[in-house]
Amino acid sequence: MSFMPVILWSDALVFLLISAISTGAFYVRKREHLLLPWKRVARSSVALVSMLVLSVFLIVGLLDTLHYRVALPQSSNGEKVYSPEVLSAFDKLVGPLRTHTEKTYSAPFALHLYAKESMTDAQGNVVREYPRLQYGGAHLADESGRDADVLKRALVGMLAGSLVGVMLAWLLRRRYKQPALTVTLVVLAALIGAIINLSAVYHVLGTDKVGQDVLYLSLKSIRTGLIIGTLTTLVTLPLALFLGVAAGYFRGWVDDVIQYIYTVLSSIPSVLLIAAAVLMMQVTIDTHPEWFDTSAARADMRLVALCLILGLTSWTGLCRLLRGETLKLREMEYIQAAQAFGVSSMRILSRHIMPNVMHIILIALVMDFSALVLAEAVLSYVGVGVDPSMISFGTMINGARLEMGREPVVWWSLASAFVFMLVLVLAANLFADAVRDAFDPRLNRTEGSV
């Protein structure tokens, strides 16, 4: 085999999450009453459009989760040696985007570097000049033909993309009839088509300080954001669910202890608690370099640890919510009916209480997602976020903001991080709203009886 699959900790957890979600989806599919709110979600065109956008992000993130290491040509003692660099299916797919690195900054669609360099011209004189980029627009013999070339490539890409989009829409026509969805699908496909076609020969979003393609960085950041937004819930969910429900159902000293724990935790301002925990985690990781065989593994462990810390510090809100709801539920007559049969507490919790708080959990989780994506950027800025070597929105912003003082302004890194984050978080927020509207029993519904 010329490559070795690598499963990082975060990958494993993502797979776990996917299998949990699939199991859940399979379970829900067979139950009409559980499916009902999802059908309400599917009726909202805002939800469908935002889900479509989110799924593009998800696909990028998932491709970026399939990691491997390439075998090196030489071998030692008959054993294959693998490159220390951990790549992903996504890296493979975008190929040149990753490898086409320039020397330093260059603006979007630029043909020249941002900074002047000393070069020898044809006459042998040393001149200060903006050198041509090694890859960006290298195919152009005539520099003045750039705009026409960009336009042509964009149009071709859009055409191809929208064709694919129309085909997809045609395939989905039976399931989803919202025109808004079709329009978004076609527009999105056209946009992606244009970007793909352009990015092969240009740096569509420019390059950063060390010459890396900003589009590549932005796309790689997606996985980091998604991981933070989703894996954290793997920690918060069990903690909040078990402690919240237990506190509400058993009351008495169980309730006192759990309330004490979450009051202590929530009384520390969360940024400070996270900062303190991350600093300590850093010390642990730095003093044990022998735990990790690649730098990717180390950065990944830091990411997982960050999720763990975020989870440990943010379960209290949901826990309090679930405790309150359980307190209400335990007085419901159907629970008393079960108690009158002598049904055990565990069974009451699993059959009566948990299914009836699931909507709260779901709403809380989708609402938290966008907050966590935003938190990543802030924490990375503060210096307690992901590993500096890991590509994320936070590290992108952090690296770029110092260059705002330059003339002319290096705006493209920030602008790309801004746009990508905004689209991701906005889509997540809109989807979360639709989910909340569909699941919250307090909201009025016009369907059925009044």
Partner: protein, 667 residues
């Protein structure tokens, strides 16, 4: 003189179904017009349409409403604000929710006074106190500075009335003004409304589902069904000769003693869902006299001897059917099988107490006890029904839960078939409960089959799943539900059907005794009759015993063999239904019975009950009832009376008026 004239009023969901569909009526000055109907028939929406206070998403789409000379439907919002609270005022169903919790009573009344009477400051306060006094609040000077949470339900509703009177309205709309109140408080409030009307000469639109309330208060009545008025008549006409089959059915669905040997005439099915209304008469699917025409053609409004009715029976072809018809009411033959045998008890409760500690202060020390159940003794025999009657807060539900060990009894004993229950953890199958709220008593996330099986599996009944499935089918047959319904979820059923499921769940473990906690109080009259019939037939078929907890005395008369009247945690009177209902001895029982409005409109001796139920945390000295009792004697405030038999051995009373056992010696 016509004060309000409503013509062709239609109120609908924006772009959707009509909730109120072409309603016309008139109210004269000084008159009470009652809108009578079951839940969801559009009565409240009619009232809110008049005030133009419809909730978001609901709108008036056509029709005219004229108050005096003012066309309400054409007024600008600003002018409408002058009408609201001024010439037209409204009181609502839930006094606890209808007052602003963070404003004092005085502030809330003063708001109306400043808007409509231009009274401010001192003058407004003085007038507020005057109004509060007028509605029978004794210490108005203190109450005016209190917040709603400091007042009891009855006082809150009085405050609401005072507030609505503050603007000097010509028309008062009362939307179920007493539904949330206990029967003795209801009597007080209704009387207050009648007196106020007499003094001020205002007109009243009374919205209610209770035939008794209509019988005692209304001059004219409109019966609503599924958004329409199906019959309109004077009270006398309506009660002596109801025309519409729906009205007739409503009367015959009412439980009372005369019918106790017979099944009630329940109306099958339930009120149609909004938007499901198609062509034809809306009542046709539930009407036993409907013929083809009723399903095809919507009936017109017919005027029959100055009453109006919307029914094909009163049209040319219909009269033939009508003439060949049977009378609408059962002949009241007295077939009472409530003999006074004393049987060996199945359940024997002795001196049961349930106390809840009150904690207060810095260290949360126990400073007192809420004596929810305070020394109750009772007995139920096999196949009999014992009704436990009392106002809310008297501890009757707590008693039921203590018997099921859902709350822990403080002391006392409860023996079921000679086995002690208190403190035991086994023996759960023999006694089960049917709860009040059919919507809260079924887990919405479980199928009917899972709900029914839960008890069986917890108590290990039914050897394997095939046996259990067979049992399930049998149960569903028993309670009158389709066998297919076991694969469905609770939200697919109506209130009455849900209550059937709840009964089936309890029966799944073959109990001998069912504790029914107000099982019909959340249901409409027509559906209540179905459930009462079911309970009665199950008793005959299975020999079940019932402990029937209720505040509805009509149901007691219909269903119970024996009655216990509970007041503040203790039983004050006990006897057979006949004894307690026909010749109540305890002043409280007498007051309770006299407070129930009667549909026959027969003049009754009204025992007015002052004040409200005291707190069980701090019960009055001596006889708990003494502070409200009309026959109070010096001894009453000192010593709690003994339980003594009166007239017969089975009829016992806890009152100083009956000091010794009155019974003639039978031995």
């Amino acid at each position: 003189m016509t004060l309000l004239k409503v013509d062709g009023l239609v109120t609908r969901l924006r772009g959707g179904a009509a909730i109120v569909d072409d309603i016309s009526f008139q109210i004269s000055a000084g008159e009470t017009f009652a809108l009578l109907g079951e839940s969801g028939c559009g009565k409240s929406m009619t009232a809110l349409s008049l005030l133009r206070l419809l909730p978001d998403g609901v709108e008036n789409s056509s029709g005219t409403m004229v108050l005096g000379e003012t066309a309400l439907h054409a007024l600008a919002e600003r002018e409408m604000q002058e009408v609201r609270g001024g010439r037209m005022a409204m009181i609502f169903q839930e006094p606890g929710l209808s007052l602003n919790p963070v404003m004092t009573v005085g502030e809330q009344i003063a708001e109306v006074l400043s808007l409509h009477k231009n009274l401010k400051g001192e003058a407004a306060t003085a007038r507020s106190i005057e109004l509060l006094t007028q509605v029978g609040i004794s210490d108005a000077v203190r109450r005016v500075n209190e917040y709603p949470f400091q007042l009891s339900g009855g006082i809150k509703q009085r405050v609401m009335i005072a507030m609505s009177l503050a603007g000097g309205p010509k028309l008062l709309i009362a939307d179920e003004p007493t539904t949330a109140l206990d029967v003795t408080i209801q009597a007080q409030v209704l009387q207050l409304l009648r007196e106020t009307q007499q003094q001020s000469g205002m007109a009243m639109l009374l919205i209610t589902h209770d035939l008794g309330v209509v019988a005692e208060n209304a001059h004219r009545v409109g019966v609503m069904y599924a958004g329409q008025i199906v019959e309109q008549a004077t009270r006398e006409k309506l009660f002596s000769k109801p025309l519409h089959p729906y009205t007739q059915k409503l009367f015959s669905a009412l439980p009372d003693a005369r019918r106790s040997g017979h099944p009630l005439a329940a109306i099958p099915g339930s009120v149609p869902m909004l938007g499901s209304i198609s062509t034809g008469c809306r009542f046709a699917p539930r009407c036993d006299r409907a013929w083809d025409m009723c399903h095809e053609k919507t009936p017109e409004w017919h005027v029959v001897e100055d009453c109006g009715v919307r029914c094909h029976l009163y049209q040319d072809a219909g009269y033939q059917i009508l003439e060949a018809d049977i009378p609408y009411m059962h002949s009241p033959d007295k077939k009472l099988n409530l003999e006074t045998r004393i049987l060996s008890p199945l359940l024997q409760v002795d001196d049961l107490r349930v106390h809840f500690p009150i904690r207060k202060g810095l260290l949360q020390r126990v400073v007192g006890q809420v004596k929810a159940v305070d020394g109750v003794s009772l007995a139920i025999a096999q196949g009999r029904t014992l009704a436990l009657v009392g106002e809310s807060g008297c501890g009757k539900t707590t008693l039921g839960k203590a018997l099921l060990r859902l709350v822990q009894a403080t002391s006392g004993s409860a023996r079921f078939a000679d086995r002690e229950l208190i403190g035991a953890s086994e023996e759960r199958a023999s006694m089960q409960m049917v709860f009040q709220d059919p919507f809260a008593s079924l887990n919405p996330k479980m199928r009917v089959a899972e709900i029914l099986e839960e008890g069986m599996s917890a108590l290990k009944i039914g050897s394997d799943s095939a046996a259990r499935q067979a049992l399930l089918d049998e149960l569903l047959d028993k309670v009158g539900l389709e066998r297919d319904s076991k694969w469905r979820y609770p939200h697919e059923f109506s209130g009455g059907q849900r209550q059937r499921i709840a009964i089936a769940r309890a029966l799944a473990v073959s109990p001998q005794l069912l504790i029914c906690d107000e099982p019909t109080s959340a249901l409409d009259v027509s559906v209540q009759a179905q459930i009462l019939n079911l309970l009665k037939s199950l008793q005959e078929e299975l020999g079940l015993s019932y402990l029937f907890i209720t505040h509805n005395l009509a149901v007691v008369e219909y269903l119970a063999h024996e009655v216990c009247v509970m007041y503040l945690g203790r039983i004050v009177e006990r006897g057979t239904t006949q004894e307690v209902m026909r010749s109540p001895k305890h002043p409280y029982t007498q007051a309770l019975l006299s407070a129930v409005p009667r549909i026959d409109g027969a003049g009754r001796e009204y025992v007015r009950l002052e004040g409200e139920l005291p707190s069980p945390a701090n019960p009055p000295q001596g006889c708990h009832f003494a502070p409200r009792c009309q026959n109070v004697m010096p001894v009453c405030v000192k010593i709690f009376p003994e339980m003594n038999a009166v007239e017969t051995r089975s009829h016992t009373v806890c009152c100083h008026l009956y000091p010794t056992d009155f019974i003639p010696d039978l031995d």
